[in-house]
Symmetry: C2
Subunit: 237 residues, 2 copies
């Protein structure tokens, strides 16, 4: 019976340094940084165990001493860039602070375009995620709602920001990955949508597209979205 039932499985629970043998050549931070560098430069699909090992200058299989499965490498990456969040002394205006948090998260995801995709699959609270959530809660001190609601606010904020940026990036990446210019890509897109709208099956959507004065301003749309979200948490007067 018995035997190894698979190790702790939550990578943050396993100690970085074991007691016995020679000391490791790298830290988790080194590995995460290497993986982040690769993903930033060549995209998430370029992050392979071989490539990360190459970046570090070690054999491929040596990586498995630090990271039991590739999925854990992803968790390391998310935690590493979460550490880039700059924290500040709360202003006393929780809405202003939350807007600042959201804008910072959006900037972070633009710097690391692979981040939204990984956010959907992450399970637990990494060290830097804990720091981040704690900071949000401190900023929410002036808000007079139950603590649970504050957690839910943080979760919702992250959700909408993540998906908003994911959409931003999906259209941008389409334009970049193909040998077309962005105008051509968007022209094809518009033409397709126009064709669909012309069928008359989607009158409400057609109305939306026809009355749109031009391309939407992403910054303004982002701000409106956040404002509406925060409105839902304002205590009833």
């Amino acid at each position: 019976m018995a035997g190894r039932a698979a190790e702790p499985e939550v990578i943050w629970a396993r100690p970085e340094r074991m007691g016995r043998g020679p000391k490791p050549a790298f830290s988790r931070a080194d590995i995460a940084a290497a993986a982040v560098r690769i993903a930033d430069a060549d995209g998430l699909e370029a992050v392979s165990m071989r490539r990360v090992a190459g970046e570090l200058g070690c054999g491929t299989m040596s990586l498995y001493n630090y990271v039991p499965r590739k999925e854990d490498l992803y968790e390391l990456m998310v935690d590493a860039v979460s550490g880039e969040h700059e924290l500040w002394e709360p202003s006393g205006d929780w809405r202003a602070d939350m807007l600042r948090v959201a804008r910072q998260t959006r900037a972070l995801m633009h710097r690391h375009p692979w981040l939204p995709r990984l956010m959907s699959g992450i399970y637990g609270f990494s060290p830097n995620a804990l720091r981040y959530v704690e900071h949000c809660l401190v900023c929410l001190d002036p808000l007079e709602v139950p603590n649970g609601a504050k957690m839910e606010l943080v979760a919702m904020l992250n959700s909408v920001v993540t998906m908003y940026v994911a959409n931003e990036l999906a259209t941008a990446e389409r334009a970049r990955s193909l040998p077309w210019s962005e105008e051509q890509e968007s022209a094809v897109r518009i033409a397709y949508l126009a064709g669909r709208m012309a069928t008359g099956r989607y009158p409400r959507m057609a109305a939306v597209f026809s009355e749109a004065p031009g391309p939407v301003d992403p910054e303004a749309a982002f701000g409106r979205m956040l404002w509406r979200l925060l409105d839902g948490f304002e205590p009833k007067s």
Copy 2:
């Protein structure tokens, strides 16, 4: 010069049937259904071109006559399950209708647990996505805000639901994929978090966890989240 600069690239823009040769053995719907069956049974990572071809009973490379790249297969899958959305005559109460939409989306994602992960990477409006959005807009007819705001409402609703279910599924899958029971998994998780909280570095989070009476009711939390979101769109009185 020139030559082929890569085809239309938006799979919905390319016609399903070409003019000339023998008639295709399958439709896109067949292929999508096969892929969905595999993903439902064995997870998204089991969806490979070979496996789908096997399910259809054809050679692997024959699939590329229907689907130029694997990414397009994913789009087909998302569109296929989006067609499972049941549409109804609007009730006149836009909040009730939006709640129903959200609950239906959540149920859909529980039926197809791979869906949230794919939603983050999808680019355009597939036929069934158009149907779905149009239905939401119809339900929002009684809401007196600009049309653009209605689109933004639908987008936010989908974002929040997607990430909520993604979190639900991530914890559930962790528990299932390991040879542990769910209680053991959650025990490890709690122990880890308790250890972190004991450091005193996260007093606000510690307060949240300490005052939680027990495991949260996912249905109730889901409902609260939606209610707050919709509140942000209620026209100012």
